[in-house]
């Protein structure tokens, strides 16, 4: 037998290859690895969703398990879409969504723009600004009711300090006109850093050479901002809006703890309204139809939006 290195390698290889061949094929490994996740999601997400759709055509009530379940067709859907209270809820949700997005985009982009000036210590301050975002909305929301208390609350004190208004003269949570703003303020406080981080990534992705070229062409700073910075950050900004939109459409924990939907129902967003129908009034069939409508709305709006986002990206 010859003893060159090549021959030694050749001799060493066969058993290993044999071991590999007796192992599972790539195809079966792929399925083995993916299947558990898919099964779990089918069981905990899709199966309940199908069940919800089925329930939405019935008059089932969880608190009356012995009553006969009747299929009532589209009646639940018709009742929801003609209910004026639900339209009020939708309006409250839209108000909340639009204002939180507008404020967070303005503040978040401005902060990112300023941080991108690379002043000394910007990393430290960025980390501090980001902190509220990761905290439990329920626990933080509950504590904000303390900050919002008339007289003793820190928020009211700060407002009176700067405006001279009597701190016990207004209650952010109990006043019908102020409560929608109370939830917008806290949500903006929590989630501005999210928009800021995404914008910062966008700003940092713009190569310096583009600005240098613009400078050679004697474009003004103002012009550079509108024709370079904004268009290049736009896809990032739109992504941030998508995330915030979906999250705030689902908004539940923060607002439940802050206002509980009140006073009256001025801050009763769709999720809170739905919870009330499903788990307080126990109108299961009706609430299921409501849930289906909400899901179709989110999914539909999100898909249209993603299409628009892809168009902007391609430009």
């Amino acid at each position: 037998m010859s003893d060159t290195p090549i021959d030694r390698i050749a001799q060493a290889t066969p058993p290993a290859v044999a071991r590999r061949i007796t192992g599972l094929s790539d195809r079966s490994i792929a399925w083995l690895f993916v299947a558990p996740s898919i099964v779990l999601l089918l069981a905990v997400n899709i199966f309940p969703l199908i069940w919800t759709i089925r329930l939405s055509f019935t008059n089932f009530r969880v608190n009356r398990p012995n009553a006969e379940i009747e299929f009532i067709g589209l009646q639940n859907y018709r009742r929801i879409l003609t209910d004026p209270d639900i339209w009020l809820t939708m309006q409250a949700t839209a108000h909340f969504l639009i204002w939180t997005i507008v404020l967070q985009v303005l503040l978040g982009f401005s902060l990112a723009y300023l941080i991108n000036k690379k002043f000394r210590g910007n990393d430290l301050w960025t980390t501090l600004i980001v902190l509220p975002m990761m905290l439990s909305p329920a626990v933080v929301g509950n504590f904000w009711t303390f900050l919002y208390q008339p007289q003793i609350g820190l928020f009211n004190y700060a407002v009176s300090f700067f405006t001279g208004a009597d701190p016990s003269s207004f209650s952010m949570i109990a006043n019908v006109n102020l409560a929608p703003w109370a939830i917008i303020i806290v949500d903006t406080w929590m989630w501005t850093p999210f928009v800021m981080l995404i914008c910062l990534a966008g700003l940092r992705s713009i190569p310096d050479s583009i600005y240098e070229a613009a400078e050679c062409d004697r474009a003004s700073k103002w012009r550079q901002f509108w024709t370079i910075t904004i268009p290049l950050v736009l896809p990032f900004l739109m992504l941030a809006v998508l995330f915030r939109g979906i999250e705030n459409f689902k908004m539940f924990d923060l607002v439940v703890q802050l206002t509980g939907g009140g006073p009256g129902s001025v801050t009763e967003l769709t999720s809170i309204n739905l919870k009330r129908e499903a788990f307080e009034k126990w109108r299961t069939g009706y609430a299921s139809a409501y849930a289906v409508i909400l899901f179709v709305t989110v999914f539909g709006l999100a898909s249209i939006y993603v299409k628009a986002l892809n168009k902007v990206k391609q430009r």
């Binding site: 999601l41 301050w125 995404i198």
Partner: protein, 313 residues
């Protein structure tokens, strides 16, 4: 003189930007500072007007958080003699005695068990799925990935009705196992998407080299890919942990006693005439500070985690 650059902001711009950002940071951090300091205030200091910035720190809030107390008559109080421990001394000042431990310890432990349990499951399932999606030709790959992501778009309340019914018939409602399974399903989309991103970044050549050297696919997976993906797996795990830790909607609907986590419990801590704010703040501090520490540790991967890997810095 250093080379002139048109993109380098002037010193004046830097000062201006720095001042505004620091101002915002101070305002934004104030409510968090207020939570932490209120935990060390006495009940009367907590509701003082104007709000007290300088105060005498006390552990009363923490004692109230962990105990239940009852009022006893003057004579009984005298019969008991001197308080034996520092926390009894704090309680006695108000003419109360400690009746027993509060529920907070249990609720906090539940949060830890459910948080870590679901994180481990999420990482195991997620790493396997992410590896398969990253390396193999899975039929309908894009559709499956989108399906996994879309489960995140549903409002929790919308799926809560059938899950409530399902858990009730399976005997899973208000159990640790049920909540662990549920949170795993909720966070799986995040774990698969993030981990796929991290594994995509590992050059496939390493595994090919290992396969040629005679490793099986499994060996290549856990001896080559897993060590390379360790940082990614660790940061994904922290994200799953934080989201499970913070979850409120399912917790408040599906648990009431044995498996209740801390977020639905903390807002229910009440004292005389409403919420006992120092105790609530003490509970909130214990609950939030670990997350703040993790956020600081994770700052480099933060953006990636919260955008499901869509934005990578």
């Amino acid at each position: 003189m250093s080379s002139y650059s048109v993109t380098e902001p002037s010193l004046r711009q830097k000062w201006f930007a720095g001042t505004l950002v620091i101002l915002y940071a101070v305002v934004t951090i104030l409510p968090l500072v207020w939570i932490i300091t209120t935990g060390f205030k006495s009940p009367s200091d907590a509701i003082a007007y104007p709000p007290k910035i300088v105060f005498e720190p006390t552990l009363e809030g923490y004692v109230n958080l962990f105990t239940t107390r009852t009022r006893v008559s003057e004579e009984t109080l005298q019969q008991l003699g001197e308080p034996k421990t520092w926390y009894e001394r704090i309680v006695r000042k108000d003419g109360l005695v400690i009746a027993g431990p509060s529920r907070f310890g249990e609720r906090f432990t539940n949060s830890v068990i459910i948080g870590f349990g679901s994180t481990v499951l999420c990482i195991v399932l997620g790493t396997a799925a992410a590896y398969a999606f990253s390396r193999f030709r899975v039929p309908l790959k894009d559709d499956l990935l989108f399906f996994i992501l879309s489960t995140r778009m549903m409002p929790p309340i919308a799926v809560a009705i059938p899950i409530f019914l399902m858990f009730r018939s399976l005997g899973l409602s208000d159990t640790h196992a049920g909540m662990i399974l549920l949170y795993t399903a909720v966070n799986l989309s995040l774990s698969v998407w993030l981990l796929k991103g991290f594994i995509d970044e590992i050059p496939i050549e390493y595994e090919e080299a290992a396969l040629i050297d005679g490793y099986t696919r499994f060996q290549a997976f856990y001896k080559v890919v897993l060590p390379q993906a360790a940082t990614g797996i660790a940061s994904t795990a922290i994200f799953c942990l934080i989201f499970a830790w913070n979850e409120y909607a399912f917790a408040v609907l599906l648990t009431s006693g044995t498996a209740q986590t801390a977020p639905p419990f903390i807002p229910t801590i009440i004292g005389v005439g409403g919420q006992d704010w120092p105790a609530v703040a003490a509970g909130a501090t214990l609950f939030l500070v670990p997350v703040m520490v993790f956020t600081i540790l994770l700052r480099k991967h933060l953006l990636r985690g919260i955008t499901f890997g869509a934005v990578r810095k």
